[in-house]
């Protein structure tokens, strides 16, 4: 794979950094985030890999990965990162890059199952739509 200077300096990475308030270059790939992530087994790009792709400017790949929609925002990665990189904020910024486009919503009301509609607490429904739709 070839990575050029143009990609590394991509404006999309700068946008992710601005929206998240995090510097992707701070990550030194120790992997503690991925080691602690409770839903890592379902992800295609692991948390520390998300940072690596961002460092290399390969944001487009990230915008199409499953990981963005599997992260539960549990903050376990954030609580363990030795560099204080707020990974949930980086993933949120990537999610927003998708959601803020027309037709970018990941979850629609008709996607909810009858069981969820009947039993789920509002806290769950509001959280899901905050994360998956704009």
């Amino acid at each position: 794979m070839r990575v050029t200077a143009e990609e590394i300096n991509s404006t999309l990475v700068r946008e992710v950094e601005e929206v998240s308030g995090q510097k992707v270059s701070a990550c030194f790939q120790c992997g503690k985030c991925s080691g602690g992530c409770p839903v890592v087994l379902s992800m295609d790009v692991l948390p520390h890999q998300v940072l690596r792709y961002a460092q290399l400017g390969l944001v487009d790949k990230l915008l199409h990965c499953k990981t963005l929609w599997i992260c539960a925002s549990c903050q376990t990665c954030d609580s363990r990162c030795p560099q204080n990189v707020d990974i949930p904020k980086v993933i949120e910024a990537l999610r927003l890059l998708v959601l803020r486009n027309k037709g970018g919503n990941y979850l629609h009301p008709h996607d909810l199952s009858a069981k969820v509609l009947k039993n789920a607490p509002q806290q769950g429904l509001v959280s899901a739509f905050r994360k998956y739709a704009k």
Binding site: I70, A72, D86, P88, K89, E92, Q123, G124, S127, R130
Partner: protein, 267 residues
């Protein structure tokens, strides 16, 4: 001891028992809770991006109401609300620019005058677990509860400032005061999947299955929680407990910590 009380949407309906047992136990313990007059949904999750101001309005308005009622403490129950309020309060206190922007939209300026507390925190710090132990009428001796902390109560550590993130003990100390035994198991702070159960049920059920199996293997009879979404997830995916080869299928009930507090106070 007086507090402004913010229920949040779930506490008034799906988690009504959480509110009812909180209000009855608070009254019995001499803690004065006053519900805020006008409140809206807090938004359930703290905004993780730097460029969205609107998400802060609801919690800040509630904090202004508490201040207006002459209270210096806002008490919440739902772990989601607690997380939103505590983090918002800290952001307003520490980020001058954010505070200026939020206040530009509101009728009054909020400067972070009110403290945000959780009922569990109040029982520990304002009342004291030793005093609580003295007030217990029915000791829950022999009962084995698995404390399940979830994520929102504790993380991020620097902002929530409630307890240690990797090995918290506030639930254990609470249970001890009631005479009950707290089961030790390694998944007490492992995420239940949170909102993933709304749209991605398979992942949520895997996450919950690990927690259920671990608690059960370590002798738990039930769970104690502080979050309506954790309770929903732990209950909904109990079929994971009935793993291949297991014949006896006891159910692990999930209680809000205030329900067992009410029982211990004989209410």
């Amino acid at each position: 001891m007086r507090y402004s009380y913010y229920p949040g949407c779930t506490l008034k309906t799906m988690a009504k028992v959480y509110e009812d047992t909180t209000l009855s136990t608070a009254k019995a313990l001499g803690l004065d809770l006053h519900e805020i007059k006008e409140w809206q949904c807090c938004g359930a999750l703290y905004p993780l991006n730097t460029d969205e101001i609107f998400s802060f309005f609801s919690p800040v308005r509630a904090l202004l109401q508490a201040r207006g009622a002459g209270e210096d403490k806002l008490l919440t129950l739902c772990a989601g609300c607690y997380n939103v309020f505590k983090r918002t309060n800290r952001a307003v206190r520490e980020d001058k620019e954010l505070r200026r922007k939020i206040n530009a939209f509101l009728e009054e300026d909020y400067m972070g005058e009110v403290d945000v507390v959780h009922y569990l925190e109040v029982l520990k710090n304002d009342l004291g677990f030793e005093i609580l132990a003295e007030r217990v009428k029915k000791r829950l001796t022999g009962r084995k509860f698995a404390p399940y902390y979830g994520c929102l109560l504790l993380k991020p550590r620097a902002e929530m400032d409630l307890d240690d993130v990797e090995n918290p003990t506030i639930f254990e100390n609470f249970l001890s005061a009631l005479g009950a035994a707290a089961v030790e198991y390694p998944y007490k702070t492992e995420c239940c999947g949170s909102y993933l159960s709304m749209a991605n049920e398979e992942i949520a059920s895997t996450a919950v299955g690990r927690i259920l199996n671990s608690a059960y293997k370590n002798g738990a009879e039930s769970f104690v929680v502080a979050c309506p979404l954790c309770k929903y997830n732990l209950e909904e995916y109990q079929k994971e407990l009935f793993a291949v080869g297991r014949e006896a299928n006891p159910k692990l009930p999930v209680y809000y910590f205030t329900e067992i507090l009410a029982e211990a106070l004989a209410l």
